[in-house]
């Protein structure tokens, strides 16, 4: 299909151009199985997802908690590689997914695939950006240069522990700034840090791009509390938990729609916070 013209950076910027904070779901490519990935992406788009984060599974995901680790392990068992994840992204485009797609992966699979080869493949698959949680600012030179060359941002993360680094990272961020809402790895948390809003406002002061928040967000109350202080909310593990619960329904042709409805209901509930 024909996407609107413009680079990944412009398409990401446009996705934030809304009244409400952008809803940014994370899903693992090939989880629960590769044949569900496109259907799930379409369902998320239908429920108002502004940007899709597509996890490319890795054997040793240091920034991820058990939910995403397990999803990655299952996807790996289905043979989902970087190449296969890019094919799935391309399939999404063919099937009508028009929101920006951002890869979420780790530096080792990127290096192994070849950074420039990956950027070419991202361009071919109409993938708009990439997020690499184990590539801090100081190590990101080569990928950042490619991100600029291809107009497909390397999304920067900042954490509550980033201290004086927030200014340096936020000022140079492309696409959007990904604020890690809490210490720790990805995963559902019942409560957010008390100082989270101060942190988000500090990032907003320096960032020239939208500010999104993720890690640990699982319910509409949290979304509602964060909404006034950010431009986007990222939900991963809680969504994967829902997908896992729907796995049996998704895997049968006659109950597939029912499975997708379970996922859509959860997304609707989350967004009821704003």
């Amino acid at each position: 299909m024909n996407l609107e013209t413009g680079s990944g950076a412009a398409r990401i910027a446009a996705a934030f151009n809304t009244e409400k904070p952008a809803f940014i779901p994370f899903m693992t490519a090939g989880y629960p199985a590769p044949e569900h990935t496109v259907d799930l992406a379409l369902a998320l788009q239908e429920e108002g997802a502004a940007i899709l984060e597509l996890g490319v599974p890795y054997s040793d995901p240091l920034a991820d908690g058990p939910t995403i680790q397990n999803a990655s392990a299952q996807a790996l068992a289905h043979g989902v590689t970087m190449e296969r994840a890019l094919e799935l992204a391309r399939d999404m485009r063919t099937a009508g997914v028009h929101i920006p797609i951002i890869l979420f992966t780790y530096i080792n699979p990127v290096l192994r695939f070849g950074p420039e080869r990956l950027y070419k493949a991202m361009e071919a698959a109409e993938v708009d950006g990439i997020l690499i949680p184990d590539l801090p600012f100081e190590e990101a030179g080569e990928i950042n240069a490619l991100a600029k060359k291809y107009g497909r941002p390397l999304i920067s993360l900042v954490a509550p522990t980033s201290a004086q680094r927030v200014k340096m990272i936020a000022e140079q961020a492309q696409g959007f700034v990904y604020c890690v809402s809490s210490l720790g790895v990805t995963g559902v948390r019942s409560e957010l840090r008390e100082d989270i809003t101060d942190f988000l406002e500090a990032v907003r002061r320096y960032a020239r791009v939208p500010v999104a928040v993720g890690f640990g967000i699982s319910g509409p109350d949290q979304v509602a509390a964060l909404a006034p202080h950010c431009d986007g909310v990222i939900v991963g593990s809680a969504l994967l938990n829902t997908i896992r619960q729907a796995e049996v329904l998704l895997s049968q042709a006659e109950t597939k729609q029912e499975g997708l409805t379970v996922v859509k209901k959860f997304v609707k509930l989350l967004q009821s916070g704003v």
């Binding site: 890795y58 054997s59 040793d60 995901p61 240091l62 920034a63 991820d64 908690g65 680790q69 392990a73 790996l76 590689t81 970087m82 190449e83 780790y106 530096i107 080792n108 699979p109 990127v110 290096l111 192994r112 695939f113 950074p115 949680p133 184990d134 590539l135 801090p136 600012f137 100081e138 190590e139 990101a140 030179g141 080569e142 240069a145 993360l157 900042v158 954490a159 509550p160 522990t161 980033s162 201290a163 680094r165 990272i169 890690v180 210490l183 720790g184 790895v185």
Partner: protein, 399 residues
């Protein structure tokens, strides 16, 4: 990654090293680097460390002339650097004591550690008890099974051993889990890494805390032989005993440095841990180094009879020493290591750790090929008590 790229990168050894970690812990690494540099310039810190190494751990460890082994093999005069005589039975205590003191200095109350064979876990648990810190040790379930006695030792010492179920339940998975745990509690915990691996400044710091092995060896061999050795041999998993042993000799180009990796069932099988021999460059546990990985960049599980060598990466400085040719890296199989273990038992009355038996196996191959005036020093990194049950099972019990 292209090292020519114009960006600031910390702690590189040639193309290797660096700091590939979640943003959440970057600040903690900066703080650690600062605290470490202050500490090693502080006479009070060094004095306390030296006191503990001497009076608590039993340093200096002997450099022992292995007369019967020398006679048996013919060729090089063989010296054993007896790190096995340290408190807790291995070189691991040198680093654990130093990092424990650093943790206290930084005001941390809890230490976390990962362990494969259990020696670093035992050392960390010991240090935590001695310094009044709480301690959690992450250990793969498979390693817990292989090293039950060490698990119990850690528990006796008051540490909590956290079983790691992910992956194949070995050192790689324990390390990943320890890093994840550190990310979650970085404001109050100190992560005691057990080898010259991980993000900067760990590889440099652990090397500096282990160089006492090489410094002592240098002084001892000069006293005993009035010259430097021709060969220095040490086993390499992550590579901390080897790095500590090699480092003070790096500028002595006539001293040949040999690291010994675990070839498991053979480097041409898929059951080995020979990272330098068979690996390729990549990023794991925060560092760029040689790794066992597949064509998609997924980490391959290593294999060795020795849980301590069963790691798919290697310290980045070793990767650099390999690239530069300053050190040579060889690999010996499980069978060769076990044969060497028996030989050391029966010639010298010393049961080496399975890790150290790999270094001995290299000596078995090398010593007979060189002249009788050749001096060879091998790091006996640990004692074999922890491995006796496993050897018993493997060898089919009492004969």
């Amino acid at each position: 990654m292209n090292t020519e790229t114009a960006y600031k990168s910390k702690g590189r050894f040639g193309a290797h090293g660096g700091r590939y970690v979640p943003e959440t812990i970057v600040n903690a690494l900066d703080e650690l680097e600062k605290a470490y540099q202050e500490a090693i310039g502080d006479p009070a810190f060094l004095e306390e460390l030296q006191y503990l190494l001497r009076e608590y751990s039993g340093r200096p460890t002997p450099l022992y002339y292995a007369e019967r082994l020398t006679e048996k093999l013919g060729g090089a005069r063989i010296y054993l650097k007896r790190e096995d005589l340290n408190h807790t039975g291995a070189h691991k205590i040198n680093n654990a004591l130093a990092q424990g003191l650093l943790a206290k200095r930084m005001g941390k109350t809890e230490i976390i550690a990962e362990t494969g064979a259990g020696q670093h876990g035992v050392a960390s648990a010991t240090v935590a008890a001695r310094l009044g810190l709480s301690c959690k040790v992450y250990m793969g379930e498979e390693d817990m099974r292989r090293q039950q006695l060490n698990v119990f030792r850690m528990q006796l010492l008051g540490a909590e051993v956290v079983p790691v179920k992910s992956g194949t339940g070995t050192l790689k998975d324990a390390t990943s889990e320890a890093i994840r745990a550190w990310v979650s509690s970085v404001d109050r915990t100190f992560y005691v890494i057990g080898s010259v691996v991980g993000p900067y400044p760990y590889p440099q710091m652990v090397r500096d805390f282990q160089r006492v092995i090489g410094d002592e060896t240098r002084e001892q061999i000069m006293r005993m032989e009035e010259r430097l050795p021709d060969y220095v041999v040490a086993c390499v998993g992550g590579g901390s005993n080897a790095m500590g042993m090699f480092y003070p000799f790096l500028d002595d180009v006539d001293v040949k440095l040999i690291g010994v990796e675990a070839a498991g069932q053979g480097v041409d099988t898929d059951k080995h841990a020979a990272t330098i021999a068979k690996g390729s460059r990549g990023v794991l546990h925060g560092m760029m180094t040689y790794l066992l990985q597949d064509e998609n960049g997924q980490i391959i599980e290593p294999y060795s009879v020795s849980a301590g060598l069963d790691y798919p990466g290697v310290g980045p400085e070793h990767a650099y020493l390999h690239d530069s040719g300053r050190a040579a890296y060889h690999a010996v199989t499980d069978d060769e290591a076990l044969e060497a273990l028996r030989l050391l038992c029966t010639t010298e009355g010393i049961i080496p750790a399975l890790e150290s038996a790999h270094a001995i196996a290299e000596v078995v191959k090398l010593a007979p090929t060189v002249s009788a005036d050749t001096i060879l020093v091998v790091c006996l990194s640990g004692r074999g008590d922890k491995d006796v049950t496993q050897i018993y099972e493997r060898e089919g019990g009492a004969q």
